[in-house]
Subunit: 215 residues, 3 copies
Amino acid sequence: MSTSIFSKLTPQATKFYPLLNSLAEVLVNASALMKEFIQNYTIENAEEYNKKIKALEREGDTISNTIFEELNVTFITPFDREDIHHLATCMDDVMDFINSASKRIYLYKPKRIPGSAIAMLDNLIEGSEVIREAILDLKTFKKKMKEIKEHCDKLHTIENKADDIYEHFLIDLFENPGDGVELIKLKEIMHELEKATDALEGVGKAIKIIVVKYA
Amino acid sequence: MSTSIFSKLTPQATKFYPLLNSLAEVLVNASALMKEFIQNYTIENAEEYNKKIKALEREGDTISNTIFEELNVTFITPFDREDIHHLATCMDDVMDFINSASKRIYLYKPKRIPGSAIAMLDNLIEGSEVIREAILDLKTFKKKMKEIKEHCDKLHTIENKADDIYEHFLIDLFENPGDGVELIKLKEIMHELEKATDALEGVGKAIKIIVVKYA
Amino acid sequence: MSTSIFSKLTPQATKFYPLLNSLAEVLVNASALMKEFIQNYTIENAEEYNKKIKALEREGDTISNTIFEELNVTFITPFDREDIHHLATCMDDVMDFINSASKRIYLYKPKRIPGSAIAMLDNLIEGSEVIREAILDLKTFKKKMKEIKEHCDKLHTIENKADDIYEHFLIDLFENPGDGVELIKLKEIMHELEKATDALEGVGKAIKIIVVKYA
């Protein structure tokens, strides 16, 4: 514990650590639930699944707000409060895009969800787990520089993979457009999922900034 | 007058007060005109209505620019110039989204505009009037803390109501999509109106920042 | 050379000048190539053209990144590093929107590209050439104030012209929508091109900031 990034600074600062951990946990749960939603999707169960995702989004918001409030009242030097703020905001962004994809499924009720959405979610689950690992390693980051760098590189790879999945999805979609209204639905849903993986990479960059600064 | 938020600071600062008032007035007028546009909409009169909305948008721009220029040359302490700048920018955003909805009606010429657009506009008119009240109360804000807080809460409620209207509109739209091209038109027009009410809430937050800071 | 905006300051600062020039050159090449792409477009050659545009976008990124890195290590006073950073970022934005339009043509494979896209590109080519001139004039900007002002005004005019082209395109598109899926494709492609000309005007504003500040 004595090597914790926060405990090294001031005793009060240690409270951010479990909060960031909980936020990562919310992302892992939301990605897994979103995959379950897509796999089991029917027009009938969409509202129920969307409610559960929304509940996780609110849980994430509560944690982020606690972090922001604590940052306002905690004196942490030389640790930059804006860097923790930025990290929490980026994690929040991932959750927002997952929630936004879920909401669109519920509102638009597509006839079917393409297989590429499952590939996208596998990617997102993997990325959320990498973030959880990276935040665990942040605790003893001076000993874990190599691991954290690898996690961040992984998030970059995952984002590239999501770009590929999304591009192939679009090519397929426009090659066999069928119903124009269904096309609009699926394009938007997949776009939100793609933005969620962009946001994953953003989390990686936010972690990198902290690690480089305090190494 | 001796309790005016601006007159308390420096004599020059008082000029911002009537400017913010005029800007609120433009929003009230634009919301009312936009409702009239939607109620009376025909493919033939769309260009004329859009011109009138555009004229109000330019009027708002002129007022905002005057505010920004005055902020650059006026010495106001301890009143934060960036807070007035932010408030004016948020009011400008509302106007921009109204104008953008109007422009899309003119460019896309939808066959009909759904009834939910009227509900949206009633909401927007109410919100613009609340903003006008809140800015009137800003003048003697130390005596009006309770009222201003209520106005800001109202703007939050209005934004939530707009979200509901927009969600139900989307559910209806995709349940009975009919013509895909009409769906694209209506979805975009309603989305701009929904963003206008998001921006209303932004104005409420900007007012709250000022009131909390100088209370 | 003694009147160069950069050489006046410190010897190291002169390196930014050829870098900005190269970036302008990339924009001119990308606009010309994009016009060729649209003129010769077939479903078969779209991938090849898109690859070439993407290569230019990467070239632009490399130059921008060199500028950003140099800004971090070069001591330039009283020249504001954030102003050069902003100028390079704005030029990058133009390239990003051209690339994004190109990518959408490749992914969506529209049946035909409307004539208004050519008008848009002629506009974009003209704007890129104006930027190249303006950056050449930046070198001796104290003698070229009038010319630079004219270049920036020109970029504003070009942006207005692009707005007109885009609006007429939309009116035509929705008057004769035909296939809804084709409408979605063309609307997005043209929108990216329109955003590219918005970004051109942004470059003009970034140049103006520098010129006004150091005049």
